[in-house]
Symmetry: C2
Subunit: 287 residues, 2 copies
């Protein structure tokens, strides 16, 4: 490797294969990390595909860093199409086998959570949106106290996301109890959809220390005061959230509780199954 003017120059042996790792499904993932002359990449890509075809490979993936955007066109010319993209890379894919493609669909949903946290005084944890968020929502007035919400990050569990958001926002520790409801919004941005999970949390600490720029303040607020805010009463979803809070606090409303399971025969992923635990326990105890 030569370093000239701060740019790494790699001397590639064009008779070698592109750097790649096998995936679990008979495919291969090309990992191009360093700058490459377009014509060198083109030659090596064609050569590699010929070899991988002979080896019986099926799907070929190219994880292309955004810094190498100049190579995208070449991959497309060789029959690759786009699978997904993140801010710093584009994932291209090409099915080179004769059999039917088993390339998985792209992600279609963003996942977010809303958290309900009651303390023992029947107060609910409520942050107040910062001004710029009110603008974003085109809301006027002096603000609104809402339940905390946030995006579940890539690769994160719903329950982990809820615990993290509360911790980051104001430093309170919580335990995840159950999902009270969920909302699906098809086509909420471009053709992608939203899934919002309303989570019941138990507080493990109570000292609020505001840390997040998106909120102006946060407090434990008497539930009735929260529920009686005009904007909460005007809003369809907020009304349901309020009713679900009441049903949970005063009656026997039950949501879905997560349980760790592995499928084992059809896949071996660690996962969480969320269901009405009491409903299943009754059944099992009756057997």
């Amino acid at each position: 490797m030569l370093v000239q003017n701060g740019v790494k120059k790699i001397n590639h042996n064009i008779h070698e294969l592109l750097p790649a790792v096998n995936d679990e499904h008979g495919g291969i993932i090309v990992l191009v990390e360093d700058p490459m002359e377009p014509n060198v990449f083109h030659y090596m890509l064609k050569h590699s595909i010929k070899v991988w075809k002979l080896q019986g490979k099926k799907g070929v993936w190219i994880k292309m860093p955004i810094e190498l955007a100049n190579l995208v066109e070449i991959a497309v010319k060789e029959g690759f199409w786009y699978h997904h993209a993140e801010p710093d890379y584009l994932m291209l894919v090409h099915w080179i086998a004769d059999s039917e493609s088993t390339i998985p669909a792209n992600a279609s949903h963003k996942v977010s959570i809303g958290a309900i946290v009651f303390n023992h005084k029947r107060e609910v944890y409520t942050p107040k949106l910062a001004l710029f968020l009110l603008w974003r929502h085109q809301l006027k007035g002096s603000g609104i106290w809402k339940i905390p919400t946030g995006t579940v990050e890539e690769g994160e569990s719903i329950f982990e996301g809820a615990i993290r958001e509360l911790k980051e926002e104001t430093g309170i520790d919580t335990e995840f109890l159950e999902v009270l409801a969920f909302r699906q919004i098809p086509k909420s941005f471009f053709n992608k959809s939203d899934l919002f999970f309303l989570c019941m949390m138990r507080p493990l600490s109570f000292d609020i220390q505001k840390q997040d720029l998106e909120i102006e303040a946060a407090q434990w607020m008497p539930f009735e005061e929260y529920a009686n805010q005009p904007l909460i009463q005007k809003d369809g979803l907020s009304n349901y959230i309020k009713d679900l809070c009441l049903a949970k606090a005063e009656r026997d409303y039950q949501g879905f509780t997560p349980m760790a399971i592995t499928s084992s025969v059809f896949d071996d992923h660690m996962s969480s199954l969320y269901f009405l635990k009491d409903g299943l326990d009754q059944e099992n105890s009756a057997l």
Copy 2:
């Protein structure tokens, strides 16, 4: 527009702005559809961004068709990064305002459904996986009768997806009742996650006509016969599905029922809220 050798050539006036439409959040979406000389695109992009900045635009999106992969590099040079991609296009984005970026996160989850359909004889609708699917799952033996599953398509509701899958697979019409449970698999493919919704359906027709290549056969199968298959008993998820079926069929297990709601204050999207309907009705009737 000239057509030379079957290729459309567009004469662009480089002093014009790129073709674009406003979005709902103070941003703008560039829609480049026809081939363009890279240097013309580069000039127009720089010029357009200057104008849009003066106009107070915030986020600039470029929906770049895969046919124009040669222009990706130029957009990246001008400060754009990748937001998401689908097989036929790449969405680039650039926040040109001084304020904090409010660009939404990319989709992180694929959504699929599994459907439970009982007829009045306590038989459950079960397709048998085709051989190539058994290979994909690396299963041996003469096959397995499973509940039908499928991917919820982009922009589709969970309940619509369940109804469509059953209709496409074997032509039976169903009504959506409730979500009995859901499973989240973090990082199931690359860094993306899976959400699987187990749906209880009521059949409206009973005549099975196999239409889908992914299944070898389909039948109404006595529930016990389904549940006693060795592979079903060995598999963690399948065991829970079996227990949930029983709890639903024999006892009072309740899942989440969808209800159409609009939020109205914080967004105006049509959406579905899934919750334990009886749990909320009791509450409301008590008020």
